[in-house]
């Protein structure tokens, strides 16, 4: 029989990564975690939300988040030795990267890819953000490609432009892993399709159970928490809801842009 309740853990450390971006570290209690899987983070008496894991060490894990709504404000305000609950890991993660895998992270999306970037040649990773002060891991992965929308760090423009360049070059590329805004992932899928490359993306939806029971995170015919959050692009191509609709807390289906705005306040 299984147990799926939050295990309470002391916060070992809380670090500022960039503007409004923090990482909390707790003891590593995850059994067989695969990067791309997620955990449910509980702040007692506040709420519980799904997060990726950005630091996967033998003794501790790190969870990187952007301070946006009520929950992440509380999380950023927790102190060392404060208690949070963790349950998981849940869902399907990314496959094992090989030496010719390209990893692309946009905004906070790079956090769930970071344990994979640790494993690969850093120059095969592309990390993008709106601006330098919101860019994650520029000291952690010095040899990665960086892009900013406003050109304040790295190349001015989007991660997809670097990807196009890499796929057009004669270098061998086996597959592409990607996590970021759905509009960006959708574009990455198109580019990979054009170049006939395998592509895996990681989806985000509002979740309740996290283990495939409640139906809250449905995206078309996909149960995101259980059959994802990582999907091979061919499994979401033609999905009428991917990059178009998502469900808010009541279960109401709204355009992704409205969903993102709502999530920012939650």
């Amino acid at each position: 029989m299984r147990d799926d309740y939050p295990m309470s853990l002391e916060i070992l450390e809380i670090e500022k990564e960039a503007k409004d971006l923090f990482t909390i570290f707790v003891k590593n209690t995850l059994d067989g975690f695969v990067p791309g899987q997620f955990v449910m983070v509980w702040i007692p008496s506040v709420d519980e939300k799904p997060f990726g894991v950005s630091y996967l060490e033998k003794d501790r894990i790190g969870i990187t988040f952007e301070v946006k709504g009520k929950f992440t404000k509380k999380l950023a305000g927790t102190k060392k030795a404060g208690i949070i609950g963790i349950r998981g890991p849940y869902g399907i993660g990314f496959p094992d990267p090989d030496s010719s895998t390209i990893v692309i992270g946009g905004g906070c999306g790079v956090s769930s890819l970071a344990p994979l970037i640790e494993k690969i040649k850093k120059s095969n990773s592309i990390i993008g953000a709106r601006s330098k002060d919101m860019l994650l891991f520029r000291n952690r992965f010095k040899d990665a490609h960086f892009t900013t929308d406003d050109g304040t760090f790295g190349k001015k423009g989007f991660v997809t432009e670097i990807l196009e360049g890499k796929l057009s070059a004669p270098d061998k590329v086996s597959q592409v892993f990607c996590c970021g805004p759905e509009i960006m992932m959708s574009r990455v899928i198109e580019i990979c399709k054009k170049h006939r490359k395998k592509c895996f993306i990681s989806m985000e939806r509002y979740m309740k159970c996290g283990f495939g029971v409640c139906g809250q995170c449905m995206c078309g015919d996909k149960v995101v928490c259980k059959e994802g959050p990582v999907f091979e692009s061919k499994d979401v191509e033609g999905n009428p809801e991917f990059n178009h609709f998502a469900r808010i807390k009541s279960g109401k289906k709204v355009p992704v842009s409205d969903y993102v705005r709502w999530r920012g306040c939650e």
Binding site: M1, Q216, M218, G220, K222, V223
Partner: protein
């Protein structure tokens, strides 16, 4: 030839296993998945007049055989539901529409708004143990309220009506009879139990954000079996047994107590989406071993025996 086909309220079911409301019933996509995994019929997540956000997380967790939830009837409301479920005829099995309300008029309003949706039956839960304004907390489980709400719903629809009762009432047979008298076509015997509560001892806080929640999972099977057995001979309308069914043995046991159909919800957590196929196969294997040809030979035998 062994068959577990079921004719239930005019619905032709490939097996008596019905997806219980509240689990994977949010969309046509989710219910299609359950139908593909062998359910005989599916029930939508309950719809109220207005949109409801429900409780904050954690809304669900488990400790071994015990599963707890306090979702708080989150749903998009009847206007959105009309869009969401407009193409339920794409689902390959019968679909039961679950409707909730705080007053009898609310149930009627939702049923009227959803009248063009091709439901095969309407289910009325009067038994949620953990949502203020609904079910047990609103006194909907008393014989008087059950009669009044069932009567109002009866006037509002020609579809078969299933009244979903709570195990947490002292006079179960009286409530079941009240529903029958008011025109119900079937009883769904069993919602989650409790409410119960668990506290995280490191923070000293309740795990469920709503503090208390309904209990489901294999642990509650004995209570459901007893409840089905209790009401079986007091009413003539058929019973759906819901609560704890996880294996083929549980399913057979519930039918021996008097259930004609079976609700499966939390079983998905314990055995996956294909819990329906698994239970159906286990039922058939058992029947083969015992020489039973159809479910009619099993339903209610414990009473006669």
């Amino acid at each position: 030839m062994i068959t577990i086909k079921s004719d239930f309220l005019g619905m032709k079911l490939s097996n008596p296993l019905i997806l219980a409301s509240g689990i994977m019933g949010t969309s046509v996509g989710s219910m299609n998945k359950i139908a593909d995994n062998g359910a005989g019929a599916v029930t939508i997540k309950s719809i109220s007049k207005e949109e409801r956000l429900g409780h904050n997380n954690p809304t669900m967790f488990s400790f071994g055989d015990v599963f707890m939830n306090a979702v708080g009837y989150s749903n998009p409301g009847m206007i959105e539901a009309k869009k969401e479920f407009s193409d339920i005829d794409k689902i390959g099995v019968p679909v039961i529409g679950s409707v909730i309300g705080t007053k009898a008029e609310d149930f009627v309003a939702v049923i009227e708004e959803l009248k063009d949706i091709k439901f095969d039956a309407i289910e009325i839960p009067l038994s949620c143990p953990h949502t203020p304004g609904f079910g047990v907390l609103a006194g909907q489980g008393t014989p008087e309220a059950t009669y009044r709400i069932t009567k109002a719903v009866r006037k509002a629809t020609r579809l078969p009506i299933i009244i979903k009762l709570s195990a947490n009432v002292p006079d179960l047979t009286i409530v079941a009879k009240a529903a029958e008298k008011a025109g119900a076509d079937a009883i769904n015997m069993g919602n989650t139990h409790g409410p119960g509560m668990r506290i995280d001892i490191d923070s000293g806080k309740p795990i469920l954000d709503f503090k208390v929640g309904g209990i489901s999972g294999p642990a509650i099977t004995p209570v459901t079996v007893r409840c089905v057995y209790d009401i079986y001979q007091s009413i003539k309308i058929p019973i759906i047994g819901t609560g704890g069914i996880t294996t083929g043995r549980d399913a057979i046991e519930m039918m021996m107590a008097g259930a004609s159909a079976l609700g499966v919800g939390t079983g998905i957590y314990y055995r996956g989406f294909d819990v329906f196929k698994k239970i159906a196969n286990e039922m058939e294997d058992w029947m083969k071993k015992k020489g039973h040809l159809s479910l009619k030979e099993i339903i209610g035998v414990t009473y006669e025996g």
